[in-house]
């Protein structure tokens, strides 16, 4: 909660600041937007959407091209951006998973924290879903059943460091219930496991769940977000459902190489602030049921620190060793 207040204060200060923005820098050659997935991955699709919007809204004098640097769980991407030290025409898109990954990998020499934070853009909320014919009407029903049969109920999800498991860890810690977490590498397999009745529950992105709910295959018990999403006006948030656990969003945003000049940082900050104010961006967020997560460079740096601390604690409690 403290972090939110601080973020709000910083946001107010920052809102006044752009008046003196960046006369010093303007990109003169195409902007390289580096992503950590191959074409078609989550950040790749986001980067291409951003490039199209920047062009459409004429926000920059040059084009933005997407560069794919997959491999090493996102660490190849981080190393690549870090090597571009001082380059004013390179940017990268990060996800919150990179923070988690850097906490647990000894192999990693440079981390996301070595890069220059530019802006946080997107918060992706989630919902907790069960199969439509499951006996659970509320999250409390599920938790009660899990308490009655410790370790018997199952949740399908991504890797053990993913947001899905973090939500589970937080819920298990606050309620004392225990259930199993089964990792599937692909999102499709996670949903198939739930719909096939092989697991009891999953944490799913609202957009993905939407159609299965409409078809009557899935039911949503609660939403992992601070406010109710417009697609789920009748579903309680975790807090409203009586579970006061921190909301862990999936975050995405922009970083730049280390050692770039101050006016450069200001230029990017302003560019993405303008982007997030455009109608195309708001439409994009609404269509995907994302939340506007805009934070300035300084706020993002603070967010990184707070997020790392929280994740370190959660991972530790889940029995995963952290190395930094």
């Amino acid at each position: 909660m403290n972090a939110t207040v601080r973020a709000l204060v910083l946001a107010t200060i920052a809102a006044a600041a752009p008046a003196v923005h960046a006369q010093g820098f303007k990109p003169t050659r195409p902007i390289e937007m580096v992503v950590h997935t191959g074409p078609g991955g989550g950040n790749d699709v986001l980067a291409r959407a951003i490039a199209a919007m920047i062009e459409k809204e004429k926000l920059a004098p040059v084009r933005m091209q997407v560069v794919n640097k997959p491999g090493g769980n996102g660490n190849v991407f981080v190393a690549y951006v870090a090597e571009k030290r001082g380059d004013p025409h390179t940017l990268g898109l990060f996800t919150g998973n990179m923070i988690t990954n850097m906490l647990i990998s000894t192999e990693v020499k440079v981390t996301l924290r070595d890069l220059t934070p530019i802006a946080r853009l997107v918060l992706e909320p989630a919902v907790i879903a069960v199969k439509a014919d499951a006996p659970y009407k509320t999250l409390a029903d599920f938790i009660d059943d899990a308490k009655k049969r410790p370790g018997q109920l199952k949740q399908s999800g991504g890797s053990i460091t993913s947001r899905d498991n973090v939500v589970r860890q937080l819920l298990m810690r606050s309620t004392g219930a225990q259930w199993a977490f089964i990792s599937f590498p692909g999102g499709g397999e996670r949903i198939a496991a739930l719909l096939g009745g092989h697991v009891n529950m999953m944490v799913i992105e609202p957009e993905e769940a939407g159609e299965h709910i409409r078809a009557g295959n899935m039911r949503v018990l609660a939403q992992v977000s601070e406010r109710r999403l417009h697609g789920f006006p009748n579903v309680p948030t975790l807090k409203e459902a009586g579970f006061d656990v921190p909301v862990v969003p999936q975050v995405r945003g922009v970083v730049a190489p280390p050692g770039i000049p101050k006016e450069n940082v200001q230029y990017w900050e302003e560019l993405f602030r303008k982007l997030t104010r455009t109608a195309s961006w708001q439409k994009y967020l609404a269509e995907n049921q994302f939340e506007d997560g805009y934070l300035t460079s300084a706020e993002l740096a603070a967010f990184f620190d707070g997020f790392s601390d929280r994740m370190r604690e959660i991972l530790g409690a889940a029995g995963i060793k952290t190395v930094r």
């Binding site: 074409p39 078609g40 699709v45 291409r48 640097k69 192999e107 370790g151 692909g186 949903i191 269509e287």
Partner: protein, 504 residues
């Protein structure tokens, strides 16, 4: 006859001149990127996505799907000609396709690949059209224990892929399993066999190993043999370049096998075209009367996997379109495309967008026919590549291999890995170790381990889950049968020898 009227409606969409043109553009692009190793359908579709916003959704979907199944046609070309698998689904095509090319039958191999792709691709679309909704429910019955059974069945085929020595085949398979275990473990987030290298955190890409061991290893071994600079035989005349009637007759079962296995594996969200191609190859070999000749250039050994990886496309569209569940990288990006165009892929997609669905189905019939017409005349042209003297051909193979690997990851580290696996392939040939078991074990290893651990997490550590569920039990029994076939064969041979009075 509701299907017929729906299909007629679909053809009305697909035959609209603009849609027909986009279908052609899609399959042509697909063929081109299929031929080039490296750049695959997901990358191409992602890059073309911005362009599709100017098109109608039907035209865009028809074109992108054309790229998807078109690439499966082209994928076999470099496998057959250069022993360089163009994509992971064409790895198994190398086994017999390249041997056929070495015997001067490159044209027949390329031709049968195109024909098998057409037959199975069309069957795949038929399946998508007729049985999509019930099959989607079947796919949901599949979970980790069933996948474990499926992968075990696949791995049992290692024994069939073995050359003279089963022990050497098993050793090679163990190396493949070891490579498959490298990287960050999904379940515990622990690094395994990364040797402190950041680049190994996500494991080693299957295609790097396949190209290294197959293509680079083969070239190195041939150079070491000092075969001289004689050219590979390429018969003259179109008639001699295409498959004969006898070839087609030999492939009757392969067409059926590829179509059915490919489609069924495609329907499973955890399946994929690589597994489909390996399974149909293994099945083909298991039931073939000339089992012993597989790997030396048997035409069914090309037809079955090439058919399977095309039929898989129709199958993979089943969970995508009926449930909104993507099973592979390409279907995931198609799903993203549908969302970007404003559709809501999910269980209600087909009922709410019948024109789009039926237009797509109709376009896939047309597209497969276009691909056959497009690919058959290319066969003689491509076969000429083998006329190149080896001092041109071998550097060409090195070049194609390196471009293929580099264009996937853009990482110099992967080029170093390619070289290392090339050396490994060379050593394996020198020491007479079969390379196919290593590749198959690598292709299945990660999925096998994952399915086993998921199953055990589901059952709380009880192994019985693997045999209590009927589908899993059937798969495991089949695997057992596959393992016993060679044993029975050997017993039989021993019995025959014992029966003969002079010990023959």
């Amino acid at each position: 006859m509701e299907i017929l009227s729906s299909l007629a409606q679909g053809f009305a969409v697909a035959l609209a001149p603009a849609n027909l043109l986009w279908c052609f553009v899609g399959v042509l692009l697909g063929t081109v990127i299929g031929i080039m190793p490296g750049l695959g359908p997901p990358a191409t579709i992602a890059m073309l996505l911005p362009l599709t916003f100017q098109m109608t959704p039907a035209a865009a979907m028809i074109m992108l799907a054309g790229i998807y199944y078109g690439a499966k046609y082209g994928g076999s070309t470099t496998s057959i000609l250069l022993n360089v698998p163009g994509e992971s689904a064409s790895v198994v095509t190398c086994l017999d396709g390249y041997q056929m090319a070495r015997k001067g039958r490159a044209g027949a191999a390329l031709g049968i690949a195109a024909i098998a792709s057409f037959v199975a691709g069309t069957v795949g679309v038929l399946g998508l059209m007729l049985v999509a909704p019930p099959l989607a429910r079947f796919a949901l019955a599949f979970s980790s224990p069933e996948y474990f059974g499926l992968m075990t069945l696949g791995l049992a085929l290692v024994v069939l892929l073995a050359g003279r020595s089963v022990i050497k085949a098993l050793l090679a398979a163990l190396v493949g399993l070891w490579i498959a275990s490298m990287g960050t473990d999904l379940f515990s987030a622990t690094s395994r066999f990364t040797f402190g290298q950041m680049e190994l955190l996500a494991g080693i890409d299957f295609i790097v190993v396949a190209i290294g061991v197959f293509a680079i290893g083969e070239v190195l071994a041939n150079i070491a043999l000092r075969e001289g600079t004689q050219l590979l035989p390429v018969p003259k005349g179109l008639r001699n370049l295409l498959p004969t009637w006898q070839d087609l007759k030999d492939c009757r079962f392969a067409f059926l096998n590829g179509s059915v296995v490919g489609f069924l594996v495609g329907v499973l969200p955890g399946g994929g075209s690589t597994i489909a191609s390996f399974l149909s190859y293994g099945l083909e070999k298991a039931v073939s009367r000339r089992r012993g000749q597989f790997g030396t250039g048997v035409i069914e050994g090309v037809a079955a996997p090439e058919g399977a990886n095309n039929s898989e496309t129709g199958g993979a569209l089943v969970p995508l379109l009926t449930l909104g569940i993507p099973g592979s990288g390409t279907t995931a990006i198609l799903l993203a495309a549908l969302v970007l165009w404003g559709f809501k892929p999910g269980p209600l997609f087909i009922p709410e967008n019948p024109t789009l669905f039926w237009g797509l189905v109709a376009s896939m019939y047309l597209g497969n026919a276009m691909l056959l017409v497009l690919n058959l005349p290319l066969v003689p042209a491509f076969a000429q590549v083998l006329r190149l003297p080896v001092y041109v051909l071998y550097p060409l193979i090195f070049g194609v291999s390196m471009v293929g690997v580099y264009s996937v990851s853009g990482s110099p580290f992967d080029l170093a890995l390619l070289a290392a696996f090339g050396l490994l392939g060379y050593l394996m040939r020198k020491l007479d170790y079969p390379t196919a078991p290593l590749i198959l074990a690598l292709a299945l290893g990660a999925g096998l381990e994952r399915a086993l651990r998921q199953s055990l997490m589901m059952s709380g550590g009880n192994l019985a889950i693997l045999v209590e569920r009927p589908i899993a039990a059937v798969m495991l029994s089949l695997a057992l049968v596959v393992l016993l076939i060679p044993l029975v064969g050997r017993l039989n041979a021993w019995r025959l020898r014992a029966l003969e009075p002079d010990g023959g």
